[in-house]
Symmetry: C2
Subunit: 449 residues, 2 copies
């Protein structure tokens, strides 16, 4: 790489550095992303040492990889060492093996061991989003001693607004907020002012359910303990905001039949987008064949009463929509912790009543519109009987769709699958196939075909 | 109401109060919700005065209304006065007119005026979620004086971790974090240590876009200014966690054809759930008629080649799924601020390429499966020609579906509608109708009908 310095004189570089130092690292990262790689790397190397790591944490994985490939080993080691541990682990998880090896081999042994340990936590677990930059205290410290400690250690911690109290075995005893410290007298003992009843997580907990606790209790941070109750890390609210957004986006994508993607839409390559969509489309297309095969078996009925065909789109759309209403509410309820597995009978009983009422109303509206739209003379059969068969099929379809829609996500959860993943294709299949069977079954019976 | 005290002796009450005082208000509220109304009100009245308001803020609107109806005017006034302003405003917005009148008339005039002012901010605006319990500072204060001020005023503030610096006209000059204060020397002047470049919002901004800023910059609080740049309130991260969750839930519901609801699924009445679902189902059902009418016009083609009918479910499902993949990504991108209105041509160009590739792959798979599944002898026509017409129709359908799917949310946004709201019904209509027109048009041309 060419040296950045060749194109600027000393004063210009000084000014640029000052501007960069006073700009929020998020905005610097955004500006780097909009430049070509060469320029971006040049500018990155001009960043003051202490802000380079901050900026690095906010870059896209492509840009991070480019930078790591362009800079010296000692520079990499410095940046990764300066990152908060959760950001360092995120970065290493995203990089190709060659880069990972180079990065890890340049770190101090202790840091390398910690990172290797963190890399083992499964994706989506609390362990994978926690960090170790917290302040811990002992019960016997006074408030004044605690302030001294914050002044000494606090600058590199992710938060100093909640401090955790541990015993000599590192077992978590309680927490004290900076607010409480500020409102207490300097001689108060931590053990006397700390809050003993605190919510904690374990490394194996789901990040999603911890996010629900943050929202419920309005937390800024939560301690993470191991199986023996020893403090091993903290989760902070900024990571929870991201997790909550990512989990919702993943559910949106799964429910629309898309393989989830971490990257923003406009930054994802066309081929990745095709790869995320095509398998689902092919599955849904093949599933459509089942409905086609069923239709094929009713060829006689269709040629006897061709008008029956014109009700198929309406039946399938209404059934599909009714099913996805129910599945969406249950999937969302499960995600937010408002619905649990043991609520299945409550959910079923509610959906049965709702389906009964909605189905009846739809059947009525449909019956009236069939009476209004069709003329018995041109049709050559009883319009009332036609309306009745369509309406009855509609009612049953909506009923089945809602039962399937509400129970499938719960079933998926029971099987430890993501409830969102089974929604679209399975509901469509079941509803399409059964609505056709019901409709033609009823029509054949009513018209004696 | 009977007096709670009659059923407990003095020591029991004391113990119960102590337990309640040491329990998180969120958990007390949850316990109250699980009791019958009479018990819940009794227990609520036993709460120590200083925790009653905290608990009240976390109760459901039904329980809040029950309690307000059961207690004395002076008790109401006390609770509402103790609430953070944003919680008080939320509560009053949800209550029926009679309750609102009674609550407001018992408040001090000044508080009443502030609440009336806040009630005017539109739902979903920053004004509607901000609060006024913040600490403001002047530039000339020292760090030591600031700590004294936090000790004096801080106890009733929503946050003391970000403090806002204003001039004599209340214009926002900057912010200083409690961390910065703790790491500075007592004689430092606020004006010298404060951060001048800070992100702020106005009361009219959308809460959703402010949530994106919180996530982007990892904020704990954001100042809110009026049109003249004067500090009028703050938004805190706990409210942002809720807003982010509510906005996502609302989009999930709109996209599934549901009127959004604030209450958790299991706590919503059957009739409310029916009311949220039925209008959409009726609309979708009536929309299904359009596809039926189109099918009706192709009666000749269907009676000439009955097997054509069996491809309808597959065409409609694949088209619908292809469209909802595109609309979901665009809706989510808009919500997260990753896609903007001016990106429309970029989005269209991406979706056209993706649709071309996905459509081609689907057409190919479909062509092969038609060749494999159908026998020209029993069918009485060219299987290759049949496969070709279905595959061509499928390709065009997927293409149209993706173009419609990606442009409709952007169009809705342009018309200042919620992008999520137009997704399901309009895409379904357009895709269903046009896929039938294309399919039968191609089939008629190919088979010379």
């Amino acid at each position: 790489m060419s040296q950045a310095a060749t194109q600027y004189n000393a004063r210009e570089i000084h000014e640029l550095r000052e501007t960069l130092r006073n700009t929020n690292p998020v905005d610097v990262a955004e500006r780097l992303e909009s430049m070509d790689d060469h320029q971006a790397i040049m500018l990155f190397r001009m960043l003051p040492k202490d802000t380079a790591a901050d900026v690095f944490a906010y870059l896209s994985r492509d840009m991070q990889e480019n930078i790591v490939n362009a800079i010296q080993d000692y520079e990499i080691a410095h940046i990764i060492d300066e990152l908060f541990l959760d950001d360092a682990v995120d970065f290493i998880e995203e990089m190709p093996a060659g880069v990972v090896k180079r990065v890890l081999s340049n770190l101090p042994k202790e840091k390398r061991n910690i990172i290797n340990h963190f890399l083992k936590y499964p994706d989506g677990s609390v362990g994978s989003i926690m960090t170790i930059e917290y302040v811990d205290l002992k019960e016997f410290l006074t408030v004044a001693e605690t302030f001294a400690r914050i002044r000494r250690d606090g600058v590199d911690k992710e938060t100093i607004y909640t401090l955790y109290v541990i015993d000599s075995q590192r077992k978590l005893l309680g927490a004290v907020s900076a607010k409480k410290l500020l409102l207490s007298s300097p001689d108060d003992k931590i053990g006397d002012i700390m809050q003993r009843e605190i919510t904690s997580a374990t490394t194996a907990d789901e990040a999603e359910s911890v996010a629900n606790d943050f929202r419920k209790y309005g937390l800024l941070a939560m301690p993470v303990v191991d199986a023996e109750g020893r403090l091993v890390g903290i989760v902070t609210v900024d990571d929870i905001l991201e997790i909550q957004e990512e989990v919702a986006t993943e559910d949106f994508e799964l429910m629309a039949g898309l393989s989830p993607s971490d990257e923003p839409y406009l930054k994802t390559s066309i081929w990745t987008l095709v790869r995320n969509r095509l398998p689902w489309l092919i599955i849904l297309m093949l599933i459509g064949i089942i409905a086609g095969v069923i239709l094929d078996t009713f060829e006689d009925a269709i040629s006897a009463i061709p008008v029956l065909v014109t009700f198929i789109p309406m039946l399938m759309n209404t059934g599909g929509a009714g099913g996805s209403q129910s599945s969406t509410l249950v999937i969302r309820g499960l995600a937010l912790g408002e619905v649990a597995l043991h609520d299945i009978f409550k959910v079923l009983w509610r959906e049965m009543r709702i389906a009964f009422i909605c189905g009846a109303a739809l059947a009525l509206v449909n019956f009236i519109r069939v009476l209004l739209m069709y003329n018995p003379d041109t049709l050559g059969l009883s319009v009332a009987l036609l309306g009745l068969s369509v309406s009855l099929a509609l009612w049953i379809t909506v009923f089945m769709a809602k039962i399937v829609g509400c129970s499938l996500p719960l079933l998926a959860k029971r099987l430890k699958l993501d409830p969102a993943v089974m929604a679209a294709p399975v509901i469509t299949t079941v509803v399409d196939a059964s609505s056709l069977l019901v409709f033609f079954g009823i029509a054949k019976a009513m018209f004696g075909l």
